[in-house]
């Protein structure tokens, strides 16, 4: 039966290839869109959950989150380091990570922080910098790769991209991060002291020690809210006696806001997928109609020589089943392949796509497409095979 089904399929290979392509494109795009949008959402949320709160100068919450977690926006401004010192003495806090972003190295951003900021990141070569030292750097995978840097090399950062604006003081590379397909691959991390040192030694106006933001892990969500309430809107004395107004935010809330905007885009993608799916059904129906004449002749012929309706149904169900299974498996494979290509793009958002991640709804989509795709032919076959042979 299977052998005959395969031979019969070989005869109709052009139509079958069209059906398979149609299913692969529609199901593949649908599954890919769903998977990527969910993995990105999950990834962003997961990153945002790492810290309980972020404190920074007042301004856009989104900008503060995007700057401190994905390095994709400019800092909102600066605030005195004394806030860090106060938080470190706060018994409700587990971890305080200061964050400053200034200068660049060949276009790659330079972040001044503590080694705690790199918790969970793995080192490819060398080691993390020593928080008590200065002028040491751990560089992202791409920074090392595209600048030919190794552990022990010295880099010179600059205030801007303008030539001649480079700091005279060099920073020694002590470690290189493993590739993470995230924005961490494109950053130079150094001690806060290094950034302060650069600016103090080059005749700049004397600054007290300043930072751009503070990432805080509170002991529990309750105290996190307390701290947010205490610091949000708080006025403190900044550089040159200028008051700085602080904002304290829960990263998850800010991310939810970002994702809400992204959801609109997601819905557009889903609508497009639905349109493709409808087109898929139409294409398959048209192909089925074109096959009707051929199939009806074939079924009549088999009935005339005495092959039972049950066997004919089984034959076509096997054929349609093979088409459906091959198509949906191919659609799934193509969607995973596309994930691989999309990884670099979404890594800018600090998310690494997991090739093996399969959402239950993806399986539902694939099953739905499978059923929709084989249904017209199966119904037609059942109707045909039930007609008497003489018709």
């Amino acid at each position: 039966m299977l052998k005959f089904a395969l031979k019969n399929m070989a005869i109709k290979r052009v139509q079958i290839i069209l059906v398979v392509l149609s299913i692969v494109i529609s199901a593949g795009i649908g599954v890919l869109a769903f998977n990527v949008s969910n993995q990105v959402s999950d990834g962003i949320v997961s990153n945002a959950q790492y810290y309980s709160l972020i404190i920074g100068p007042s301004g856009s919450q989104t900008q503060l989150v995007m700057n401190t977690m994905y390095f994709s926006e400019e800092p909102l401004g600066t605030m005195p380091y004394s806030v860090v010192a106060n938080l470190e003495m706060d018994s409700r806090v587990n971890q305080v990570v200061p964050f400053a972003m200034a200068d660049s190295y060949n276009g790659y951003g330079v972040v001044g922080t503590t080694s705690a900021y790199l918790d969970g990141k793995t080192i490819k070569e060398g080691a993390l910098f020593d928080d008590k030292q200065e002028l040491e750097a751990v560089i992202g995978y791409n920074v090392a790769r595209y600048n030919g840097l190794n552990v022990g090399d010295t880099i010179y950062t600059s205030h801007s991209a303008i030539e001649g604006d480079t700091h005279e003081q060099g920073i020694k590379v002590v470690g290189i991060l493993n590739e993470s397909h995230s924005s961490f691959d494109n950053i130079v991390f150094t001690q806060l002291k290094t950034l302060w040192h650069m600016h103090e030694h080059e005749g700049e106006e004397a600054h007290s020690h300043e930072i751009c933001a503070i990432l805080v892990k509170a002991k529990n969500p309750g105290v996190a809210l307390q701290i947010i309430n205490e610091y949000d809107g708080k006025h403190i004395e900044g550089d040159n006696d200028k008051d700085v107004t602080l904002q304290a935010i829960e990263p998850m809330n800010a991310v939810r806001g970002i994702l809400k905007d992204a959801d609109n885009t997601k819905y557009i993608v889903f609508v497009l997928c639905a349109v493709i799916l409808i087109m898929n059904v139409m294409i398959i129906s048209i192909i089925t109609l074109l096959n009707m004449y051929h199939s009806s002749k074939e079924i009549t012929l088999m009935r005339l020589i005495g092959i039972s309706m049950r066997k004919i149904n089984m034959l076509y169900i096997i054929q349609n089943g093979i088409i459906g299974i091959v198509s949906t498996l191919l659609a799934f494979g193509v969607s995973r392949l596309c994930l691989l290509f999309m990884n670099d793009y979404v890594s800018q958002m600090g998310v690494v796509l997991n090739m093996g991640k399969v959402y239950p709804l993806e399986l539902v989509i694939l099953l739905g497409v499978f059923v929709i795709s084989i249904l017209p032919t199966t119904i037609w076959t059942l109707v045909m095979s039930k007609r008497n042979a003489q018709e």
């Binding site: 039966m1 005959f4 005869i11 020589i305 005495g306 039972s308 066997k311 042979a389």
Partner: protein, 222 residues
């Protein structure tokens, strides 16, 4: 033995054929002669269980066909009857052997096909697609498909209809030879072929086939 008893067949366009009672003996060959529309092919379809009579009975080896279910009639047809259709009923895009092996779907053993193909002189076409064969070759494939399951009854509807006389005669000779020991009922227009059959039934003598009639006892070959 095939018995036709008080059989009539009505069609949707209100034409009808009445068959007189007749009997086809086992292991004999019968030739049905007659003009188009007089009910020759219908009779074959009734015997094969493809059609059901409107009234009357067709009894084969004591079994009343009208009492069988559709599934039983299918089973009977695939196991006991080899039917050679006028238009061959072959899948054009498939090879000769695949057209015969289609019977495997119902568990029919087709291992004897190469021998039959050889006997009919088309073994070398075993893997050729039907669409690349001549009419005579296609007819031989249809014969092999009908005979490969060693049926007890062979029905042949105009087996020479698409062939010239020389090839048609050759096909009939081969068919009769291959049907030794089986009941063969063949429909044909060509009286010249009657010498190869045990009996000839001239259905023309009875009516036009449209209401009132058809058929009489088999006329012994002259």
């Amino acid at each position: 033995m095939i018995e036709i008893k008080n059989v009539t067949k009505e069609f949707q366009n209100e034409t009808a054929i009445d068959y007189k009672d007749m009997v086809f003996e086992n292991s004999k060959s019968y030739m049905l002669l007659g003009a188009s529309g007089c009910g020759k092919s219908t009779l074959l379809n009734l015997i094969a269980g493809i059609m059901a009579p409107t009234t009357g009975s067709i009894v084969i080896d004591g079994k009343r066909m009208e009492e069988l279910s559709q599934r039983e009639r299918d089973k009977f047809r695939i196991e006991k009857i080899g039917y050679i259709f006028q238009d061959f009923k072959l899948i054009e895009e498939m090879s000769v052997i695949d057209n015969i092996n289609i019977l495997n779907i119902e568990g029919i053993d087709t291992q004897g096909a190469p021998k039959l193909l050889e006997e009919l002189g088309i073994l070398d076409k075993k893997n050729a697609k039907i669409k690349h064969l001549s009419g005579g070759q296609k007819q031989r494939v249809a014969i092999v498909r009908a005979l490969v399951k060693s049926p007890e009854i062979i029905l042949a509807d105009e087996p020479t209809g698409n062939l010239n006389f020389a090839i048609g005669e050759q096909v009939i000779k081969e068919l009769v030879k291959a049907s030794q020991g089986k009941t063969l009922i063949a429909v044909t227009h060509d009286e010249r072929l009657s010498k190869y059959f045990d009996f000839v039934i001239d259905m023309n003598e009875i009516t036009s086939g449209k209401r009132d009639v058809v058929s009489e006892e088999g006329t012994k070959k002259c």
